[in-house]
């Protein structure tokens, strides 16, 4: 097992990426900002690491079309700053964006945040990619139009591929307007009561953007709304009425606590400011937190820096799990979870479990017809990264063989599947 490869290549153009892939014999790791370096299976020994963080910058932002193409190594928080000047955003709020996660990395790891309830994950927001395959072939698919059915959607294939099928060099994204106002309403209570609230909420016409339960004593349901400056408060009132006694509006900073749980480091998000803390990115503003515009992190040799989880290792192992939304609460209750962030509308949760319980957790999720993958864990933990393989595994192996016949790219990420 090698975590630090003997050679690091840092190309700054797509052509240099192709040259690097062609001119470097052997097996290659692909690294971005390093915010998900320990997700999925551990890398096998590699001959070199291809670092994409020199591959940055906006290629074309078309504000009128609400599309942008960027180099894959661009941190999303940097992109958010640029397009935010036009009051546009990528509607993705994955927890690690403030820590410098790159556009390519977010796509390759299939990451998403609470607003996936409405906007989906990267697979719903990406409309084009350019990728360098293991033999140096540069492949383009999609483009700057959101409606497009010409050719195979290669971006989907790269979504969740963890660098095993190709090196993303350019990504074209669909943008959304920055909401004029946002608000978050919280109600304290255990997961079971949060699930009951959610069941009523999703049947209501209130259109929540996010609906997440975070563990604690007793835990808390967070519901985010977006809307117009003069109208949102009316919907906030309706939401508080629906959630009943104890529902109250909270500062957006509460989502930092959520992000900390997703990173597997509970407590980091709670810095004593509480619900009505003095942070200046308050609610009913312009959603700046979600765009990761805080300038509090820089790349730190692949470990990430700034924001929650910057300096703390997760206690145990962090698992990402997904199941039908109504099955999620009972599934979580079965797991020996020490920290939970659960999307009760999406059916996607991030849970921290003791390292020894990872295999058992995979099995429990599979028994609920769900999916699971290992995210962050301590360096010495030897635990399976994936649950039982999907029935489509043979075709996935065939695709890997066609695109990377020598198994050069990111070996080990899908161990033991392939």
């Amino acid at each position: 097992m090698t975590r630090a490869a003997p050679t690091t290549l840092r190309p700054t153009t797509p052509k240099e990426v192709r040259d690097a892939v062609l001119d470097t014999p052997g097996r290659l790791a692909i690294a971005g900002a390093g915010t998900a370096a320990d997700w999925a299976g551990r890398l096998d020994d590699v001959d070199a690491t291809l670092d994409t963080t020199g591959l940055t910058g906006v290629i074309a932002h078309n504000p009128g079309d609400m599309t942008v193409s960027v180099h894959a190594g661009t941190p999303l928080r940097d992109l958010a700053g640029e397009i935010g000047e036009h009051r546009q955003r990528l509607a993705l709020d994955a927890a690690r964006i403030p820590r410098g996660a790159t556009v390519g990395g977010l796509l390759a790891t299939a990451d998403a945040g609470p607003s996936a309830l409405v906007y989906g994950s990267m697979r719903d927001l990406v409309i084009g990619t350019t990728t360098v395959l293991a033999d140096g072939t540069m492949v383009r698919s999609g483009g700057h139009v959101i409606k497009n059915v010409a050719g195979y959607d290669m971006a989907k294939l790269l979504h969740g591929s963890y660098g095993t099928l190709g090196v993303l060099v350019e990504v074209v994204l669909r943008l959304h307007p920055v909401p004029k106002a946002t608000a978050t309403v919280a109600v304290d209570g255990p997961l079971t009561s949060a699930a009951e609230h959610t069941a009523r909420l999703v049947q209501s016409p209130l259109e929540p953007i996010a609906c997440e339960w975070i563990s604690g004593d007793p835990g808390r349901l967070l519901v985010r709304l977006e809307g117009g400056e003069s109208t949102l408060h009316l919907r906030v009132d309706r939401l508080m009425e629906l959630l009943g006694d104890g529902a109250h509006e909270v500062d957006d900073a509460v989502w930092d606590e959520h992000a900390a749980l997703v990173a597997g480091v509970p407590g980091l998000g709670d810095n004593g400011l509480g619900d009505n803390g003095s942070r200046d990115n308050g609610s009913r503003d312009n959603g700046s937190r979600d765009n990761g515009s805080r300038d509090n992190g820089s790349r730190d040799n692949g470990t990430g820096a700034g924001g929650p989880a910057a300096d703390a290792a997760p206690e145990g192992a962090v698992l990402r799990i997904g199941a039908a939304p109504t099955r999620l609460p009972s599934l979580i209750a079965e797991l020996p979870a020490t920290a939970v962030a659960a999307g009760l509308g999406t059916g996607v949760a991030t849970v921290t479990v003791p390292g020894a319980a990872v295999a058992e957790a995979h099995d429990a999720v599979a028994a609920a017809n769900g999916t699971s993958s290992l995210r962050s864990r301590s360096a010495d933990l030897d635990a399976p990264a994936w649950g039982p393989p999907p029935s489509g595994l043979p075709v996935l192996k065939a695709i890997k063989h066609k695109l990377d016949p020598d198994g050069r790219l990111s070996p080990g990420r899908f161990h033991p599947w392939m």
């Binding site: 078309n62 009128g64 079309d65 299939a110 998403a112 989906g120 719903d124 072939t137 492949v139 483009g143 700057h144 139009v145 959101i146 409606k147 497009n148 059915v149 010409a150 050719g151 195979y152 959607d153 290669m154 971006a155 989907k156 294939l157 969740g160 591929s161 095993t164 099928l165 307007p177 069941a199 049947q203 209501s204 016409p205 209130l206 259109e207 809307g227 117009g228 003069s230 109208t231 919907r235 799990i321 997904g322 039908a324 099955r327 999620l328 999406t346 059916g347 996607v348 769900g370 999916t371 699971s372 994936w386 999907p390 029935s391 489509g392 075709v395 996935l396 695709i399 695109l403 599947w417």
Partner: protein, 484 residues
């Protein structure tokens, strides 16, 4: 070459004789889809009733190298379901059950032959609906929607089929039955579901689909606005988007399209306007009302000559009836027409429409324009008369428009697919390396090249033929071959 009798017997053994059609009179029904210019009578038509039977049929095909083409309602407009002469068509209309509606998880499980509108019909008692809404939604099937990644008027805000399908059960070209996708938005590994969606039947056959359902919006507000020019209407669209408003739908029609649609439906469109815009907003009452006022103000600012606000569900339905009938209605003003399906970045709409008008003038033909203005998906209808010998000019103009869209940074197809129709234009949009990579993906699924072969990729055979209406092959005219 006719299929070996023993192979036919194997299909009969799987399905029973009644579900295997070989009579040329019956199989001829399956000779084309909505693109009637290409016709091939299949050797056999198989009509399985279960996913397992589909898989068994495909296993027979795989064992003997028999090419197969899956087909639903046949409403496709790009020849994606064109049969292969020495192969079989696998018709999926008998797999037409809504297997489950799960209101708590807001999803439905469907067999591929369920029509698009039947999904919403099954979901509506629970206050839910299925968002993607192709114009053919009364007859097109969800299996076909999956194959084509179908869109529709409401996809600007809500996304396309690929954004609403959680998982699919598919029969791969080796006959294995697998599930792609998962019960939640999360899944393990590369998004094979997403690659399969929109692959036009070239990677396998879908036998079960789990879709997301959305809550029926609290409020819907629809307006029909007339403008002195298409450009003014286009500017309204840009301003709406710039104001941070994402309408549920924004559709535009030009004078010719309005003339046809109004003549056919009497929906209340103005006959003397150069352009009409349909804008629909939906959402919570507060947000919808607020945004609606902004949209009205934007329309006024750009010289709107008439603003008709649907005052009742019936009036809203009439506005949409006019828009959705536009294609078929064009038959009233022209003996023949070709529907084109290019996409351009929204901001280039005006430019591309001017250019299309110039190209039409040069060709001496009329073009009616109906388009999804919010997402830049054009549907220029090239009007012509076959009787007057205008076929070739019409085909050239139609292909020229599609390739113009690519030159403007757009796409050959927004929702109808590449199929047989535009396979030869693919090199205008993709380089050799891109096409080669697509081919690698294709062969990973289908190493034997038996699953809907000849579609999507340019092939010498296909590109030696011309799109458009059927015309006899030279050998046919000489009496050397016979067309069934």
């Amino acid at each position: 070459m006719p299929l070996d009798r023993r192979i036919v017997d194997e299909f009969v053994g799987v399905l029973g004789a009644a579900d295997v059609l070989s009579d040329p009179i019956k199989t001829r029904t399956y000779e084309c889809d909505g693109l009637t210019g290409y016709r091939v009578v299949p050797e056999l038509v198989l009509l399985p009733r279960t996913a397992e039977a589909v898989a068994e049929c495909v296993k027979v095909c795989a064992r003997h190298g028999v090419p197969f083409v899956a087909r639903g309602a046949g409403t496709g407009l790009s020849g994606g379901a064109l049969p292969v002469a020495d192969g079989v068509v696998i018709g999926l209309n008998r797999l037409n059950r809504v297997l489950e509606v799960d209101p708590e998880n807001r999803r439905a499980v469907l067999e591929p032959g369920v029509t698009n509108l039947e999904i919403t019909a099954a979901a509506s008692p629970f206050g839910l609906y299925y968002a993607p809404d192709p114009s053919s939604q009364q007859v097109c099937t969800i299996g076909g929607n999956v194959a084509e990644n179908s869109g529709g008027a409401h996809c600007l805000k809500y996304g396309f089929t690929t954004n609403h399908v959680l998982s699919i059960e598919v029969v791969l070209p080796d006959g294995s039955l697998v599930t792609l996708g998962s019960d939640s938005a999360e899944q393990s590994g590369p998004d094979l579901r997403g690659v399969f969606l929109g692959s036009e039947g070239t990677l396998g056959i879908t036998t079960k689909i789990t879709v997301r359902l959305l809550r029926t919006p609290e409020t819907m507000r629809t307006l029909l606005a007339d403008f002195p020019s298409v450009a003014a209407g286009g500017q309204v669209v840009s301003d709406i988007v710039s104001a941070g408003i994402v309408p549920a739908a924004v559709e535009m029609m030009d004078a010719l399209a309005i003339e046809a649609a109004e003549g056919a439906t009497g929906a209340g469109y103005s006959l003397d306007t150069p352009a009409a815009l349909v804008v629909e907003l939906d959402g919570t009452a507060e947000e919808c009302d607020d945004q609606f006022e902004q949209v009205k103000a934007i329309c006024d600012r750009h010289g709107c000559t008439r603003l008709h606000i649907a005052g009742s569900p019936e009036e809203r339905a009439a506005i949409w009836r006019g828009r959705k009938a536009a294609f078929a209605a064009v038959g009233r003003i022209s003996p023949d027409y070709i529907v084109q399906d290019g996409v351009v970045p929204r901001t280039r709409l005006s430019e591309v429409l001017d250019k299309i008008a110039e190209m039409a003038d040069d060709a001496g033909l009329r073009v009616a324009n109906v388009f999804h203005a919010g997402d830049g998906n054009l549907h220029p209808l090239v009007l012509y008369s076959e009787a007057d010998g205008e076929v070739e000019r019409a085909e050239e103009l139609s292909s020229g428009i599609a390739e113009l869209c690519v030159a403007m940074g757009g796409s050959l197809s927004g929702e109808h697919g590449i199929g047989t129709d535009k396979a030869c234009s693919m090199p205008t949009m993709f380089g050799e390396d891109d096409l080669e990579a697509f081919h690698r993906v294709r062969t990973a699924f289908d190493p034997g090249d038996i699953c809907n072969p000849g579609k999507l990729f340019p092939t010498p055979r296909l590109c030696g033929e011309r799109p458009g209406k059927y015309r006899p092959h030279p050998l046919e005219e000489q009496g050397a071959i016979e067309r069934l």
